[in-house]
Structures are given as C-alpha cells and as structure tokens.
Amino acid sequence: MSMAVPAPAGTTGWRARVQRFGGFLAAMVIPNIGAFLAWGLITAFFIPTGWIPNEDLAQLVGPMIFFLLPILIGYTGGYLVHGQRGAVVGAIATAGVAIGGFIGTEIGGEVVQTPMFLGAMIAGPLGGWLIKQFDGRVAGRIPTGFEMLVGTFSAGILGAILAILSYWGIGPVVAVVSNAAGDAVEFLVDNTLLPLASIIVEPAKVLFLNNAINHGVLAPLGVAEAAEEGQSILFMIETNPGPGLGLLGAYWLFGPRSIRPSAPGAIIIHFFGGIHEIYFPYVLMNPILIVAMIAGGMSAVLTFVVTGAGLVSTPSPGSIFAYLAVTPKGEHFGVLAGVAVGAIVTFLVATVILKATVREVEPVLDAAVATERVPA
C-alpha cells in the first residue's frame, strides 16, 4: 500500500474515535467562532492597552468571556445532543458553571476566576443528554393536552437542578483542572519548552485532528490565559499559517512537476482563506515532510516565546487576516516574525526533502490516482 494514502481504516480505529470526539468538541465551538471574534475585536480595541482605550466599552470584555461565550458553547453542545430542548437545558446547566467561574474558586488561598470553556463543554452536552433520557422515558405516556406543560416543567426543573449542581460540583473541579493546566503551560513557556508541543501538534494536525487540538484543548486554555493576561501564546501553536505556506511554497518551486500548478491556488486558500486542510494532503503524499512541518512549527513557537508574542482571541480560521485582527497593539512584530520564521524554516527543510525524494514521489502519486479508479 502506498504511503500516499493515509493508513487504512482498520489500523486507525483509534484515530476515527479521537476524530469523532474531537470533532464533537470542535462542533460545539466552531459555530460560535463569530462571537469569539467579536469578543477579540472589542478586547483588542478597548482595553487599557488597546488601540483606542475606552473604560466604558472595556466593561463588555469580562461578561462576554465569562458568560456569553461559555453559554453559547454549552447551548450548542446541548443542541448537538438533543436539538432545541437539549440546547436550552445545556445552556441553563452551563450558566451554573459559568457563574461559578465568574465568582471564583479558592485555590491555594487565592480566589481564582475561570472562564468556563471546559466546564461548558461538559455541562452543555450533559444537560442535553439528561433531558434526552427524560424525553425518551416519557415518550407516548403524556396525557393529551399536557405535552407542553410536561415539556416546559421537565426542562425547567431539570435545568434548575443542573444549574445548582454545575455551580457547586462541575465548576470548582474544572477550575482546579484549568488552573493546573495553566500552571503547566506557564512552566513550559518559562522554560522555553513550549516549542516541543509542535512535535505532537504538527503530525496530529495533518491527520485531521487539527480542530480537536485547537478548539478542544489549546483554545480553551488560551482563553483562560487571555482573560488574565490579555493575550495568549496558545492560540498560535496550531493555527500558525506560516509552516503550511512554507510547505506549499516548496512544492510550488521544487515539488513534482505534476503537482506544482496546484500549489499557488492552495497557497491562497490556506494562507489567506485559513483552510489549513488544503495543505495536509501535500504532507501525506510524502510523509517525511512532517519533519519540515515540525521544524517550522517549533521555530515559530520559539520565536513567539522569545518575543513574548500572543493573541487576544483564537484566530479562526487560521488565516493571516484572522491573525492580524486578533493581534494586540504593539505585538505585530513578534506575531508576524513567528509566522515568517515558520514559513521560511518549513520552506527550507521541505525544499531539501523534496529535492532528495522527488523521484520517489512520482510513482506514489500514480498509485494514488490508481486507487481512485480501483475502489479500495
């Protein structure tokens, strides 16, 4: 079996599972990305260090991150499980967690506030699932005319109970976990170990785990950090469009001749449109190129660490335009330097690899074409 084809289904059952789980997490977040951007723009403009500081409008920042964003995620999570009713109960449950996060949890003698993104990802689907169980149990047993009454009261009572349980139970646990994860990230940043993350992130990304990693793991931690510090480097670990640009650039100039013409279009869709998926196949058709992606990713993260760069919100889709929109004032050098370094390093390493292996690549591509005709 040629390497151009990502491993067949049987060997990648774990991947399909992780993908489905990650896909579920991402599906809670991605439909609400517009709200993240709105929050990011308001933050970038109006906080004291923003473009046009405005004390009055800066008051929007806190409530939006503590309430609007988590409740949207919880609502969507509930909706995914059980439609509109699931969404309502999920949102009520999430409100309990979110309010607890706003009031704060005492950790090590200090009251720590937590924007409850992880809490929302638990409480929302949980609320949806519980009301789904209830609806399943009573289906067909409600006397005619009482459907609306039962529907309203079941959602209301279950929601009220869940809001309290989330406030007391889920919130504090998530606060402790978020806090510990935040400390771990801080440790990695302080000791310049964060670039090592690319060794995991870049291969996982081209296996289509990109959304799971970014929206499921890095962005929630990043949002918690951004709420405290005004920016976070975690938003840039997975989303950096630099390495993909470098890879496609190398293919454009030094790739197999049959592939070169597709590279410029892919560059536009990737770098400006922010759809990173477009470059994954170029890595998968010659998997050793993952070395170039890791090298570019690590160099970029190192650049971000050294320059102290960060973004105010998650740049999604990972387009250079989204990057510019959520770069805090005065931080453009570090952010753009990281993107450029990522592109250049990946380009150079990929060029070396392509020049060394390009003859091996051609038959592999033919094999890929052949498998299309002979269904696997």
């Binding site: 084809v5 059952g13 489905r20 896909g23 994954f280 005709r373 269904p375």
Partner: protein, 102 residues
C-alpha cells in the same frame, strides 16, 4: 462497498470535520460543475452526515469515520482538495448516469 446509478443521485454531501471549512470550499467547486443536473450539493460535519445523502465525498483521512456514520452510503474519498480525479469520477457518473461505486 455500495453502488448507486448516477441518475439516482439527488444529494451529494461534502463532509469535513467541522462541516464549515474545507467542505464548504469543495461545495462551491462541485456545485459549479454540476450546474443544471438537478443535484443538490451540500456540506456537513462528517459525524452528522444527513440521512438523505446519496453520495458522500470526503477526504481519505476522514473516510473511516464517514463509513462508520453512513455505512449504507456510497462514500467517495479523495486525496487532494484541488484537481483530484475522485471529483471527476463523481461528476462524470452523475452527468452520464453511470454507476458510481464507493
């Protein structure tokens, strides 16, 4: 492995992980190529492929998930987002009413 005649295809679903990124890009391309064919081209997250899909088009990396979600459907997978022969295969089958396997 399932087969459908190109004549019976009414709804082609492009699936990607989130259903909002790469699949949307492909919908635009495929819709143009299938203009005037009485075929609807839509996008969806791979985990929630709608039950009325006739043909599912998905990247190789998500093929296993797609087959699990929609085991009875024709699933056509592709390697490259631009210019992959898999797209030609789908378009040709629909335009000429030929059987489409996947």
């Amino acid at each position: 492995m399932t087969t459908i005649s190109g004549n019976d295809v009414r709804r082609v679903v492009l699936a990607c992980e989130a259903g909002m990124g790469s699949s949307v890009l492909l919908v635009t391309q495929l819709r143009d190529r299938l203009a005037g064919q009485n075929v609807e081209v839509v996008h969806s997250p791979v985990s929630r492929i709608p039950p009325d899909a006739d043909v599912i088009v998905v990247h190789k990396g998500l093929e296993a998930t797609a087959r699990k979600v929609a085991p009875e459907k024709v699933v056509v997978s592709f390697n490259m987002f631009l210019g992959d022969p898999a797209f030609d295969r789908v378009v040709e089958a629909i335009k000429q009413g030929k059987p489409l396997e996947g």
